[in-house]
């Protein structure tokens, strides 16, 4: 099933979250098309490791565009259960489909209330439109 941006929740810093397994409390996480556009040409991404603990609002990885290094922040707290390890070798997929093929990691949430603090699509789009 294809995920569309309207279905997602967002951090102001442009990471998205999608509850991909409600029963297991697993959230799929990536960065938005707006972020990819702002970053321009991506050349490298430092991904987290499976088993790594992440915290809501804290850095979980880094992305390098042509000359800039930027952090990526986790929308939720929990444990990384899966990483899209092949993404590093095909970063162009983030330009094509950042919400499906360009997912970055899956996190088993430790506190599902983290989701309530995220922006919905309308609020996030408003932020981007006024950036």
């Amino acid at each position: 099933m294809s995920i569309s941006p309207e279905q997602l929740r967002y951090l102001e810093s442009h990471e998205w979250a999608y509850v991909s397994d409600q029963a297991a409390g697993v959230v799929t996480i990536g960065i938005s098309a707006f972020a990819v556009e702002q970053l321009t040409d991506l050349v490298f991404m430092a991904l987290p490791k499976v088993g790594q603990e992440v915290s809501a609002g804290a850095e979980f990885g880094e992305v390098e565009s042509v000359k800039a290094v930027s952090p990526m922040y986790s929308p939720v707290s929990g444990t990384v259960v899966e990483v899209n390890s092949g993404l590093v070798d095909r970063l162009e997929s983030l330009n094509v489909d950042p919400y499906n093929d360009g997912w970055i990691m899956k996190v088993k949430m430790s506190d599902s209330s983290d989701l309530a603090g995220l922006l919905d699509w309308v609020s996030y789009k408003h932020q981007c439109d006024h950036a």
Binding site: S13, V43, V63, S65, K67, S70, E92
Partner: protein
């Protein structure tokens, strides 16, 4: 909102200390911190690697095997800091998380402003408008050295890249590094510096158009810049004067000005102040 700014001109320092200073400026930045423009040189020829670069990559460049090296927090390719002038700009975040990634407008602004100054001095300076970047599977497919790469906003004089900049953005703010290559290094003889390149036309060094006068050039804005004192006898200027005066490739009246590091420190300081002021006013304050 009024934001303060400060200009720091440091004496030549080791690579580790130079990077620690910039890291600390970014790590300790708060919304109330001043914007910092720092100009510095290096106490020995030093290779600074882009944040994700591997040191093994230097094997592709003959002569760098034994060079001291340090890693930058900013991205991009490796730079050999020898006959060059380095700058850093730290702009603290004031609570906006609007942009991820780089703010290309800042280094475009710095490079365009410097290009304008160099054209006034007679050099054929322009932005690159080409790119060697790639999203290919192997990020090492780009040349190891920054000055062998091209991105659209790099500053070229003729075919030679003489300034490149790179950034790091954190929740604390933005760090931008840049390097003005003044003269080629014996370790990288294939990379021409600005003073190795003939000017395409003469410039009247006495004329107002070629002089840098902070007061006259300063754009009134919210950023107040003040220069710090440079300790006498150990400043970058003192050491640089010797380095740059070793050779002259130009001829003409008042050429000695171009071989004075203090001239370039002053010029680059002016360029950075104007660019930061414009950027802050147009972007951060909007």
């Amino acid at each position: 909102m009024e934001r303060r700014g400060v200009v720091v001109v440091d004496p030549p320092l080791s690579g580790i200390i130079n990077m620690e200073k910039d890291d600390a400026l970014l790590a300790n930045a708060t919304p109330d911190s001043p914007i910092v423009v720092r100009l510095y040189r290096w106490s020995e020829p030093t290779l600074s690697l882009g944040h994700f670069q591997e040191i093994e990559g230097r094997s592709e460049v003959a002569g760098l095997e034994n060079a001291s090296w340090v890693r930058r927090r900013t991205g991009g390719g490796a730079i050999l800091h020898d006959f060059e002038l380095t700058y850093s700009v730290v702009i603290p975040d004031v609570g906006d998380k609007v942009l991820k990634g780089h703010s290309e407008s800042l280094y475009r602004s710095v490079h365009l402003t410097l290009a304008d100054e160099l054209r006034r001095l007679g050099w054929d300076a322009n932005l690159s408008e080409e790119c060697t970047c790639s999203t290919s599977p192997n990020r090492n497919s780009e040349p190891f050295l920054c000055f062998s790469r091209r991105s659209p906003v790099d500053l070229l004089v003729g075919p030679y890249k003489i300034m490149g900049s790179a950034q790091r953005r954190t929740s604390k703010g933005l760090l931008q590094h840049g390097s003005l290559l003044l003269r080629h290094s014996p370790l990288t003889p294939g990379l021409a510096g600005l003073l190795d390149i003939e000017r395409t036309r003469g410039a009247d060094m006495r004329g107002e158009s070629t002089r840098v006068v902070f007061a006259g050039r300063r754009v009134a804005g919210p950023v107040e810049m003040t220069s710090t004192d440079v300790p006498a006898g150990q400043s970058v200027i003192d050491r640089g004067e010797e380095l740059l005066a070793t050779e002259s490739v130009h001829s003409g009246q008042h050429e000695s000005d171009l071989h004075s590091l203090s001239f370039w420190v002053e010029l680059l300081t002016s360029v950075l102040k104007r660019s930061v002021e414009t950027e802050v006013r147009c972007r951060w304050e909007s």
